[in-house]
Structure formats: C-alpha cells, structure tokens
C-alpha cells in the first residue's frame, strides 16, 4: 500500500547527452576479506567479484563494482518490482554471509540514486565539475571511480562507450540532478 516515489522525476535530453534515472534497482553493499567470503559470493551470484581496484564485473543479472579492498557495490542490471522490497538475492546473501560472520551484506537500494548519462558529451559534462582525469577511464569499459561531481560524492561506472552510471546518495540527488542539467545546458 505504500507508493514508490523516486527523488528524480523527469528524464532530460540535450544535444549529445541524455540524462535519466533508472529505478528501482536493487543495490547491495558487500563487505568481506576472506577467501570464503569471495567464493560464497561467487557461488551464489554466479559471478566473481572484481579484485582489481576501480574495476567491475557483470553477469546477465548483476554488476559488481570494486569500492575498496573489502567493499563492493552490487546492483541489479534490470529494474525490479516497485510493489515489493523483498530481494531474494539480498536475503540469500545476508543469510550466507552476514549470518555466518563471513562479512557483511547491507541493502543500500535507496541509499543511492542511479543516474544514467549517455551521449558523446558525457565526459565533457563530467569534466565541468569533476577534477578526475578521465583520459584513461573513458578508454576502458567497466571502469569504476569514486570521486566528487560539483562537490557531491559519486560513484561512476563506465558501462560502455559514452555511457556511464552515476550513483549518488539520495539526499544529494536532487541537487546533483539540477546541477547536471544546468551544466548540460552549457556544453
């Protein structure tokens, strides 16, 4: 009976850039260090967590992004049900990891808003507010970065050529979305 309402309502299009929110997407924060942790995750989601810094790995259902040597953000590739926030995979991993003290699994589905940017001006947009060097980042698909965009913490996932997902904390998302649109209108 509770209605789902995202912080971002409209999608926007500019020349060379389209901006849209993708929701609802399941997001889990995975923490752990041991070999057991990695193998248990691997077995249950059928995917190996990336070990190399600032990279990601994907299966048909999920994408996992390296955040630190013992932290990953795992997201569903597809949109999930709005009427229900019971994520089977989340419960499964929680039971296999958290309950067994192999690590920690935390639901962060609404901690982050996923904003997708697509078009040839994606990196022009980012470099108007982000001090990071994207020269190498943009050459390789699947790269991940944690940085600031217009002073707001973001995780950037380079999905494919000229297509990135930004993960921004929900409370900042309206501000950032507004800034992105302002910046996009100036490109």
């Amino acid at each position: 009976m509770l209605n789902y309402k995202s912080s971002i309502i409209e999608n926007k299009k500019y020349s060379g850039l389209s901006i849209k929110e993708i929701s609802p997407v399941m997001k889990l924060n995975l923490r752990g260090k041991s070999r057991d942790f990695l193998s248990t995750i691997g077995k249950n989601i059928n995917m190996i967590l990336p070990i190399e810094a600032n990279t990601s790995s994907s299966s048909d259902k999920y994408t996992s992004m390296w955040l630190s040597p013992d932290e990953w953000l795992m997201v569903s590739n597809n949109i999930i049900d709005k009427e229900n926030n019971n994520y089977e995979i989340g419960d499964l991993l929680f039971n296999k990891i958290s309950k067994t003290n192999l690590g920690a699994v935390t639901d962060v589905s609404d901690q982050f808003v996923l904003i997708n940017l697509e078009g040839e001006k994606v990196f022009d947009l980012l470099s108007s507010g982000c001090p990071m060097n994207f020269n190498k980042f943009k050459e390789k698909e699947g790269t991940v970065a944690q940085t600031l965009l217009s002073q707001v913490d973001i995780i950037i996932h380079h999905k494919k050529h000229n297509n990135v997902n930004l993960f921004v904390r929900r409370s900042f998302s309206e501000h950032l979305f507004s800034w992105i649109n302002d910046a996009a209108s100036r490109l």
């Binding site: 509770l2 924060n29 229900n84 935390t106 409370s171 910046a183 100036r186």
Partner: protein, 1001 residues
C-alpha cells in the same frame, strides 16, 4: 580624421567590416580585428587615461597585457561594467562602450591634475606621514582618502553573465603560442602526447607572425611565411587542442594551473547573449612548457610618461599587425637593436622616422647598417633628457652621455616629434615560472633574470628563457625539447636560420638628466606614479629589502603588477645601494598574471549552486504544507509549519501542545544511520560508547554517548541490536559523516583485529517519528498485525514489520519524552509512509512538527543536543550524565581523559536548568550568567544554551552551563541584558516527567 593613420591593409584587420564603438561618450569607427587601443590610435586618440596619484595625462604605451596606462572601464551597465581592462586587450565590437578611469570631470580636463603641480609635496610615504596627526582626525581624513583611492568603478548590481569551470588533464601544456610554443606543441602532439596550447591573444604566432623583414629567414623563407605554414600544419593535429584568448592566471605546485578562457568578450551584446562569458580552466599537466616570451623594457628618463611615448615593439606591432601608425613624425630611443627593426619597418611604409637616439657608443649589426643606409639619423651615446607636450608629446631634448653614463655633457638638442618609441631591452616573462616555485638567476651580460631551477616537470623555452635571437630561440628550444620530452628524432633539426646579430649592449637603469633628480619625473611604475626619485627617497629613509621598497613606494603594486618597470626599480636599488642584482633578488610574482573577474573564479557556484542542499524523502510534503525550513548542515529540514499566518512562536506553541496532548509527527530522516555487522560488533560498541553494550538484548535499543579522545562529548544517539552481530547506530544529523569517518579510522588503524563492518544507510531509510499519547493508536491503524502491548513492544525496543508488502523497522524510542515510535522504511516509500501516518492520525489531530518544536520538547525533558548544549568542552560528568559512564569497562574512547585533574575539577562549567523569576520572561540563548552584579567587570559564570517558553509547563525554561553549577541547585543568579537584569534560579535540567511516566504510558 581617422583613415590617414591606416598604412596598409593588414592580414589581421578586416577593413571591409566597420565596427562602431564609443569612447568617453564619443563615437568612433574601427575595423574588425582591431583592439580598442589600435582603433583609438587609428583615430589619433592617444590620451586615454590619467595616472593614479598625480593625474598626469597618459596614453597607450604597449600592445599587450602588460599595459600600465591604457586601462579603461568597459560598459556602463551597472550589472556587467568592468573596471581596469587593458585597452590593448579589448577587441572592439559593435556597441562597445568604454570610458577613461581616474579622471573627473573628463580625461581632457581633470581637476585632479592639480596633484601634478603639488607633486613636490606628495612624495612616497606622503599619506603614511601626513595623516598620522592628530590621531583623532583619521576618521575625517579617511573619508576623503577612500574617495580618491581605487581604480575604476565596481559593478553595483549582480553579475548577469554566465561563467563556467572546466577541468583539463593533458600530457603536455604549452603556454604561449609564439614561434617556440608552436614548435613545441607540434613536436609534443606529433609524438603521441595529448597537448594543450594556450595563447592569451586572439591569434597564435606571437611577434614572428607579422615579421616582414627580409633579415629574418627560416629555410629561405621569411620567418612569418614559414610560421604561417607551421600554424596551418598544427591545426590539423588531432592530439593538439589550441585555445586562444586564454590567459594562464596561476601556476601552482605539481603542474596545476589555472587559466581564463575568454569566450564572448569580443562579441557584440546580441551575439554574446546566453553564452558563457569566461571559463576557468583547471589544468593538470604531466609536463609544462612555458613559452611566454618577453616584455620590452621602457627606459627611465625625465618625463618618460607622456601620451605618444610608447614601447618601440608596440609601435611596430600597431604598424605591421594592425596597420595603424602611432605618429607621423617618429623618433626612437633605445639601448639595443630592436628599435631599429621598428624604425626600418616604419620607414619602409613611408612613415617619417626623424632619428634614433641610442645610448650605446655604436653597434655594427645589419639592422643598424640598414637604418643608416635608409638615411635615418642616429645619435650615438645620447640620451633623452626631457620631453614636452602635456596631452601628447611634441618635442624631446637630448644630450650626450658621459662615458660612465651617470651624467650628460655638451649642449641640448631639441627635436620635435609626435611619437617616441622606446626600447630598454627585453625582460623574460618569468612570472609563471616563479609562481610555480622556480628559482631565477641573473645574467649579467644582458641584465636579465632567467629560469634556473625547475620545481616540477617543466621547461621554459624561447625568449622567456633568455633566448632573444631567432637562431638561439629555435636551436635551444629544440635541444631542450628533445631532452624534456624524451624524443630521439626531432623535427626541424636542420633548419637554416638567418637573423641579425646584436653585438653591442649598454644598460643604464636610470638615465641622467641635465637637471638634479629632485626636479625630474622619471617614472618607474607608470600606473602607480612611482618615480626613480621615490625609490631613492625610500632608500634614504632606510628601506633596504626590495619588498619594503615596493610597499613604501607602491612600485609594482598596480593592476599591471609592474610588468614594465619592476626591473628598473630593482636596478635603481642595486645601483644606489651598491648591491649586485643577483643578490638583491626580485619581488614575489603572485597570481593572477592578469586580473581575473570574480565571476570566473566563482564559475557556476552561485545562486542555487552556491552550496549543496540535501533533502529528505518527505521534503515535497513539507513544501506542499507550507513548512518553513532551516538549514541543518546541508540538510533542508522542516522548521515549523505555520497555520493561518502564525508566527514561529505561535506555531511552536501549538505544535508542542499537540505532541504532548494527542499526537505529533516529525521527519527524522536526517539522523545519521550506520549499519554495523561483524562478530565483534558488540565489542566495538563497547569501545566507542561510554556505556556497556554486551548485554543489550536482541531487539532492544540503547542510548549511547560517544566521546572524543579528550573526554569531551562528541556525538550521541540510539543504537538498536537487530540480531546477534548486527546493529543499527543513529548519530546526530550534523555529525553523521564525521562519526562514520572517525569509527572507520579507529577500525582501520587502532583496532584492525576487530571483525566489524560499517556501512552508511542514512539515505537508504526515511524515518517518521510519531509521538504523543495517541501514537500507539495511530501505529495500530498503520500496522494492525503488530502487537503493540508493553509486554511485546516495550519502550527502547524494536520490531520488524511490514506496511503492506513493504518491509520496515519500528523502534519505540523517544526524544520528546512522550510515548513514541520511529518508523523506518526504504527512502523511496518515505513520502507515502508520511501520508499514511497523517491519514491514520487524522482522527487524533496528528500535528506535524518541525525542528524548533522538537528542540522545545526535548528541553522540557532535559535531553541535550550535542552541539547546542555542548561545545566540545563538556564531559558527560559536566552534563550530569554520570549514569551513562561505565565504571566497569576496561576502556572506551576518551576514558582516560575523564580522570585527568582538569576534567574532574568541580568548578567546571556544568549543565543545569534555569527558571526565570518572571515565568513569562524568555531568556536569550547565549546570554551570560553572573552571581555578583557589583563586581565590575562582571565575572561570567556561564551562559544559556537552550531557552523556550514551554506551553506544557506554562512557563519559560532554559538550559545553561554554569561554573560549578551542579552544587548550586536553588541558587539565585543574574542575567544582565541591555538596560535590565533578569533574575534566575538554578534548577534540575529535567523540567517534565522526571519519572518517565509518559514514556511508558
């Protein structure tokens, strides 16, 4: 009378496009490609401004960003007018309006010009010395001094232009697109390096591009022709980005540079509409190649500042590049060969060059030979001793120099002229190099400072590195690039270069006159009216350090930062004091190289983008229900919800009563929430909080106080045990990020042995807190299947539940002292949760309340707010919260500090309650508390930290920190306010329901 000063169509001026503009209210025409300076000169306007102190008439002196005199106010719109713009850099456009600065009523008749006559009474330090006496008069003096100080007028309305920022990362940054910069950029880009080439001027090519002398050849082509080919080549390179009208403002450490890209200043008002005016580029370069060139030096002689006295290179550029002659009857005054180039170029255009006055005894270069052959009269070993012409030069006087160059001999020769081109040699533009931390060395041969030690991966090439002849520039540039870029085979290796060779040099920093120095005006800093005389005065008065001389005389402190005269100031100091130039050093070169607009610095961080805001999931509801908001950190929090034009006081009184009498609802989503998991989670909490956690039952909540290492209260909040090794901690709104950082720091550096993981879930959950006697009934309507009996769900416990299909967490915890529940759902269901609570609470008149009411309600209960009632100097004992400090635990953060002699002192400031004698009197937060009114000055015992009128208690209540307050229960104290004193009594800080009956009701 305009067009007769145009000599020939230049490649860089489009004579088919006429541009009209206004200067000092008068209409003029110029051509597309003109700067304001070249267009004014073409209209025979030399007088463009007045000097700062003496209001002497001044004209255009240079053709670039070093211009000290021709600074103008552009535009007359109060929002976008800009002062101190160099006329030599303003590109004209239709509708441009510019005015002279520093003159009133007009540049032609300036009342301040009287200062020139008074100048003997206005030496350096005049203001410092004169307006000291009597001290009490300063306020009167200041009014007049402020009136005459400052250059130009600031805009008075908000800037309507748009500015932007951009980050750029490149392998190689080349600053300056003269011949060496262009070659460097081509070499770098062709060797697979991502290269950025920046040029402050409109076109690239530097001074070579309009060099039409047959004496400068590269590979048998005229140097300009060769360079134009190169320019066409580099424009095709993918790896190279070229930005013109872009001036590097600052060169910081580790190759981080700031540059201003000018995008629309050259466009007409209609063309620039809606476009970004300027962009600040924030550049990180792996390697930097500085090719900023050099600035021609003036010569320092008596009355060297009149309109019509210009740098000889500027005279040449106006003629060769803009096709404008600066005078019809020219004289050059020089100590090197450069002026000969200018003279020859003018002569070849059919413009009269009367004479060249050269302080050297002779020179044998091919340029001198050519000038002689053309019949130009050369006065060797002569100096100009005076000039005549108030608003434009019309005559000069010269005399022969003595052998030592310190005096003049012979008889005076007078020559009339309308333009005097001067050249005192060249100063490498080392500003950026020194900004980056580079160290200079002095080269005696030609008296220049050149780069010596590089602090980062950078090199200087071309004339900014002290290479002045074409051959030196190209050959040295290639050698250094080869090493610097680690390239084996370099292009251009076998270029055949021809250029005239300068053999003779003579430098005299201050040229002698036939008058004593006290009677002359040899200007060193044109903009600030500092003369050689002033520098000598400063030295006589005991100033030795060049930095002190600079400040006393204001030499080099104008908007041009003394780009022209600083070297002479140094030279005069060195000569006068007998110190070597190399030992004297230079004054500090500070960014920005040329003035930056505030707009560029700020970029888009204005208006709504000035600061970040954070919003809760329920924010729209608050907005729609007319809440007033307050900023809590970056959060926008609902402050109170006025109904029917209530004041904040009325609204808070109503909201507080409702929360105590029936039901209230608060958006508590902003509280920090940290998910804690791991087999050592309980141990971890034991270490971070002052109280014990091991025995907290699963499904139970506990309040915790977190200290800093110094024992002072840092944060507080309720933590809930969700399962054996799983907790959810709440923190204060403002402290959330710092607490997480601190805890993570402890885990990683102090307690790596603990198996604990922290994950922020602040934004994942939306939290609605419903409180009041009817809160249980409301929750029952919302989640009927949840057993709310005290047995199943007592105070300080937690239940998992579902609203429909949506999972939620419900905690029975209270910050108000009322029976209350906090419902946490995933954030995207938060607004809907709130609406459902409002619907379910309708019959109980559920009242939304904001942070102000929350503060009042908790103050009634004596609950502290960290940061309001504490300030980083309060221990839990000071707060009368001894009960929360475990005596049994081995350790927790801050434990040791609690037992230091100072923290156990009994006369520390302690938290107490205050009641006013008059129950309707509300104290001001921050008011000071005293016990003895007769003792002056008052001895302040403490201050009020929280103060409200409590509608529930029907009296005013306050919390305060008072020295030794714990032992002062019942004591009467005073609060002196302006014009009256308020009597107060110290009481227990818990004003309401000390027995917690309401909580458990």
């Amino acid at each position: 009378m305009s067009n007769n000063l145009r000599v020939k169509s230049s490649n860089y001026i489009d004579e088919t496009t006429i541009v009209s503009f206004k200067f000092n209210g008068k209409n003029y025409h110029g051509y597309k490609g003109d700067t304001l300076a070249s267009a004014l000169l073409a209209n025979n306007v030399h007088l463009v401004g007045r000097s700062f102190k003496y209001h002497r008439p001044r004209g255009i002196m240079t053709s670039g960003s070093e211009e000290p005199n021709a600074i103008v106010q552009v535009g007359n719109n109060a929002a976008i007018t800009e002062p101190n713009v160099r006329a030599t850099e303003v590109e004209i456009y239709d509708g441009l309006e510019a005015t002279s600065q520093n003159c009133w009523p007009s540049v032609n008749f300036d009342i301040g010009g009287i200062n020139n006559l008074l100048s003997p009474f206005l030496p350096a330090g005049f203001y410092y010395k004169t307006f000291m006496w009597p001290a009490s008069f300063w306020k009167k003096y200041e009014y007049f001094i402020r009136h005459s100080a400052g250059l130009g007028k600031s805009p008075t309305k908000p800037d309507t232009d748009i500015y932007d920022h951009k980050y750029i990362h490149c392998d190689v940054l080349v600053i300056g697109a003269g011949i060496s910069g262009i070659m460097a950029a081509k070499i770098a880009a062709k060797n697979n390096l991502k290269t950025l080439l920046l040029e402050e001027k409109t076109q690239i090519g530097g001074s070579t591009i309009y060099q039409n002398s047959e004496k400068f050849k590269i590979d048998n082509k005229n140097s300009s022709e060769w360079l134009i080919n190169e320019i066409n080549e580099i424009k095709k390179l993918d790896n190279l980005q070229i930005k013109t009208r872009t001036s590097v403002a600052a060169y910081h450490g580790y190759n981080y540079l700031l540059a201003r890209e000018n995008l629309t200043d050259h466009l007409s008002p209609s063309e620039k509409k809606g476009k970004i005016r300027q962009r600040l580029l924030k550049i990180r370069a792996k390697k930097v190649i500085v090719a900023t060139g050099s600035l021609e030096r003036p010569l320092i002689f008596n009355n060297n500042d009149r309109p019509g006295i210009m740098l000889s290179s500027a005279v040449k550029k106006y003629a060769d590049h803009y096709g404008v002659i600066c005078g019809k009857n020219n004289i050059f005054f020089t100590n090197n060969d450069s002026a000969y180039e200018s003279a020859i170029s003018l002569h070849k255009k059919g413009i009269k060059v009367q004479a060249i006055i050269d302080i050297r005894e002779n020179s044998k270069s091919s340029l001198v030979e050519e000038a002689t052959n053309l019949g130009i009269k050369i006065y060797w070993s002569h100096t100009v001793v005076d000039t005549v012409g108030y608003k434009k030069i019309n005559k000069i006087s010269l005399k022969k120099l003595s052998n030592d160059g310190q005096s003049t001999t012979g008889s005076k020769i007078n020559i009339s002229c309308d333009c005097l081109g001067v050249s005192g040699g060249w100063t490498p533009a080392v500003h950026l190099f020194t900004q980056s931390g580079g160290k200079l060395k002095f080269r005696d041969k030609d008296q220049v400072f050149i780069p010596n030690k590089y602090p980062s991966k950078q090199i200087s090439i071309g004339s900014c590195n002290g290479d002045f002849s074409l051959n030196d520039i190209i050959k040295n540039c290639l050698n250094s690039l080869k090493k610097f870029l680690e390239i084996e085979n370099i292009e251009y290796e076998n270029l055949d270069i021809i250029n005239p060779i300068e053999t003779e040099k003579r430098n005299i920093w201050l040229l002698p006159s036939d008058k004593v120095i006290g009677k002359t005006k040899p200007f060193v800093d044109y903009q600030n009216d500092a003369t050689a005389k002033d520098i000598k005065l400063a030295l006589r008065e005991g100033f030795r350090s060049i930095e002190h001389v600079k400040r006393y005389t204001t030499t080099g402190m104008g908007t041009d930062q003394g780009k022209l005269g600083n070297m002479h100031a140094l030279g005069i100091v060195a000569d006068t004091t007998g110190v070597k130039m190399s030992e004297l050093g230079t004054t500090t070169f500070r960014p920005p190289y040329t003035p930056l607009t505030f707009g560029t610095i700020v970029g888009r961080n204005v208006g709504e983008y000035f600061d970040i805001f954070r919003k809760t999931p329920m924010n729209n509801w608050h907005l729609n229900n007319k809440a007033e908001f307050e900023n809590v950190g970056q959060w926008k929090r609902a402050w109170y919800y006025p109904v029917n034009n209530e004041t904040i006081y009325e609204a808070v009184q109503r909201e507080s009563l409702a929360a105590r009498e029936s039901a209230g609802i608060l958006d508590a989503s902003t509280l920090g929430k940290i998910d804690i998991q791991g087999s050592d989670a309980s141990e971890f909490l034991n270490r971070v909080y002052t109280n014990a956690w091991s025995k907290l039952g699963i499904g139970k909540c506990r309040y915790g106080l977190m200290l800093n290492e110094d024992g002072m209260v840092y944060d507080d909040g309720v933590t809930t045990r969700l399962s054996e090794n799983h907790y959810i901690m709440t923190t204060t709104t403002g402290g959330a990020a710092n607490v997480l950082g601190k805890l993570e720091d402890y885990l990683q550096t102090e307690w790596p042995e603990l198996d604990v993981y922290l994950t922020s879930v602040t934004d994942h959950f939306a939290t609605a807190s419903i409180c009041g006697p009817n809160s249980k009934k409301i929750l029952n309507k919302l989640i009927p299947e949840l057993d709310l009996s005290d047995e199943n769900f007592p105070h300080m416990s937690f239940k998992e539940a579902r609203i429909g299909k949506i999972k939620c967490r419900v905690m029975r915890i209270s910050f108000t002292g009322e029976h209350s529940y906090e419902i946490n759902v995933q954030a995207n269901y938060g607004e809907s949760l709130w609406e459902h609570c409002m619907e379910a609470g309708k019959e109980f008149n559920i009242t939304p309340y904001g942070t102000e009411t929350m503060h009042l309600l908790r103050a009634e209960k004596g609950f502290i707010i960290v940061g309001q009632d504490t300030d980083g100097t309060m221990t839990p004992i000071d707060l009368q919260m001894d009960w929360i400090v475990s005596k049994k635990k081995y350790d927790f953060i801050g434990k040791r500090s609690l037992y230091r002699s100072d923290t156990i002192r009994e006369d520390r400031k302690q938290l107490v309650g205050l009641l006013t004698e008059n129950p309707k009197e509300i104290l001001e937060e921050g008011a000071q508390i005293v016990s003895d009114l007769s003792k002056k000055p008052f001895e302040m015992l403490g201050h009020v930290t929280s103060s409200y009128f409590s509608p529930n208690l029907k009296k005013s209540i306050a919390l305060a920190v008072v020295r030794g307050g714990k032992k002062m229960m019942g004591k009467k104290l005073f609060i002196p306010m302006e014009g009256r004193t308020i009597n107060v009594t110290i009481v227990d800080p818990i004003f309401l329901d000390k027995e917690n009956k309401r909580l458990n009701a």
